[in-house]
Every structure is written in structure tokens, then in C-alpha cells.
Amino acid sequence: MCEFSQRLIAWLDGELPEGEAAKMERHLGECAQCRGQLDAYRQASDAFEAYSNACADAAMSAKSAKRGRRSLRPAQAVSAAAAIAAMVATFFLFTARVRHSAVVGTAAEIGSTTAASQPVHTAQQEPARQLAAVAPPGVTPQVVKSKGAERISHPAPDRRTEAPRPQENTNLLPGAPAVEISIPADAIFPPGAVPAGVSFTADVTMASDGSTEQIRLRPQLTEFERKGAQR
């Protein structure tokens, strides 16, 4: 039997080191026996994958037939929401850490924008830093002046994510502008990842240097809110 035949499957899986892979390719050009074997292995491999996919599909469709399409049990919705919230919180924590170096430059930039649009306000620097920490590096947010703590929402089909939304327990300066950003869930999550009726509120705690100390995402079941259980 050909010595190369021992490594056909590893080659098929792209697991051979470069040099050996090149040798194998040269050899395959010359050895019909190995080509035949390779073909058989490839077919066996494909057949296994088709089988396992069919198996998985059968198992999965057994469930949707039983339960109907989009009927998440509340407990499941909560756990799904929590998992997604956790993922996103992780993301923000990471990016927040990375961003520290970029905060100062961006803060100045935003500070001047804010000052221009709101010349009356005195405590500009602090909120500016807060904005900077929230904004991705290199992004210059458009700041629009408005009266009252108005909530802005981008219309999102079915669901929406809100971040960050200052609450009483955040350490915003008293009287400082409230910063509210709404992000459509569809812009962030993979389609279908956020169950209908679930949204998030993010509480952001800022450190005095403008960095993000803590971000807490609270999943909310908006469908159940009318019972008055929230806040």
C-alpha cells in the first residue's frame, strides 16, 4: 500500500504541515490509487455530515412540531435574554477597557461640539467624557439640544435595545444632561437572537476619569410590563 495513503484524511482536513501537503498534492497527481481512496474518504466524510445534519434537523424539528414556531416559554425567554445580555455586556466591558486611551481626544472633540450647541450650560466637560466613553473610538456623535429628559427610540421591528439610560443609581452629576441612546436591536444582534417582547436597559456607571466603571444590562420583558411589575 502506498505510504501516502496513511495521510490522505489529514490532508483532506487541511491538517498536514505545508511541506507535507505540497508533497501530497504532487503525489496525488501521480497516484491513481490514492486518488481513488481519497474519493472514498471524501464520500464517507460527506455522508457522515449529511447523516449528522439530518439527525440534528430531525431532533430540532421534532421540537418545533410539538411546540409551534415562536412560542418561547417565559422562563426560556428570560434565560435567552440573559445570555444575550451577558454577551453584550462582555462586549461593552471589553471595548470600554480598550477605549480608555481614546477617551481624552474624543472628549475634547465632543466637548467643543456640545459647547457650541449648548453655550449656556456650564458643566460641559463631565458629560462630554461620559459621551466619549460610550461612543466608539473615532466616532463623532452628533449632539442635538433638546429640553427635558426625552427618550429617543429608533423604531425597530418587534424589539429594541436601549443603552445607556441613566437611572437614579448612576453617578451622573446632579443636573447634568441625561444621555440616552437607543440602538435598534436588529442592528446589533443576529436576526432572531432577541425574542420578541424583550428589550434591554443599560445602566452605565462612569468613573471620574470618564472611563466606564460598570455596565449592567437589564433584560426586560416588555410584554409583561403592563402588569406593573417593573420599577
Binding site: 489529514a10 454577551m87 433638546s146 440602538i183 442592528a187
Partner: protein, 179 residues
Amino acid sequence: MSGDSVRLILPLSRLATEACEATALYRELRKPLLRYLACLGLSADEAQDVVQDAFLSLHKHLAAGGSQENIRSWIFRVAHNQARNRQSRYERRFAAPLEGRMDTIADESTPERAVLEREKFLQLRKAIGLLTEAERECLLLRAGGLRYREIGEVLGVPTSTVADTVDRAIRKLAERCNV
């Protein structure tokens, strides 16, 4: 609230791109994980639960400053171990769950299913049933897109062992299926 409010309109594309990187893992790995777990014999509900738990564990792992390398094998390993823990019916083998549904699968004439013609399907099922547990798991993880190194990390065996196991398993299938 008394003070002025600042309405902030962020260009979302940038933010979304970055957020997508965080959820890209979820998007990339959710389906392979579900498939893997279903093939291990977990019910759809169990598989969903295990996947959610695995991503929660991943969050804790990352938030605690855990290594960001080898995330794929990390999460597969967590899911694999959780599946084993919660599965008293683990002995119900990969080949078994299809027993009752085989007819529907073989009869469906969608292009994908046509691949599995009944005769070959029976042969293949028998051949898969004759594989060892380790061989099946290696092939399932391989079908999930994992490299040999990653498979080794999931199952806790050296990469060379994975290479040998995959090699042996594919050879067995190829011989027994007469393909």
C-alpha cells in the same frame, strides 16, 4: 429630570459592527453547537438550554479575564461536558435517535435528503453505530468545523490522538459503506 437633556445620535453602523463582533461568536457557533448536542442525543430543548448555559459560562469566563484564545473549543468543551452531565440517556447513541424518523427522512425527496438514499442510509447508520464513542465524537466535532487541535481540547486528548481517531473512523466508514 430638571437639566437639559442631550440627545445623542450615534452613527450606528460602527457601533453595530463592533457589537456584531461580540455576537459573531454566538451567530457562528450556535448552530454547530445545537447540531452537535442534538447528535449526542439531547432533545431540542435540552440542546437549547445547554447552548444558552454555555454562552453564559463564556461570558463569565471572559468577564473574569479568562483567555480569549481557543474560544471555539472552549465553548464546545463546556457544552460537551454539560451535555454529559445532564444526560442520563447518553447511552442512547447517535445512531439511535433516528430510528423512528428514518422513514420520513429517507422518503423526503428534497435534494439534500436525496443524498441519503435508503440503502446507503441503512448501511451508513449501521457503520456509524459500529464506531466507538470517541470516533463518533471526533467526527461530529469535525463536522462542526473544529480543527484537530480544537477537537483535542474539547475531548481532552492530544491532537495526534484526534488525527488517528478521525483517520480510523473515516476508514471504517469508507470500508463499511462500500462507497
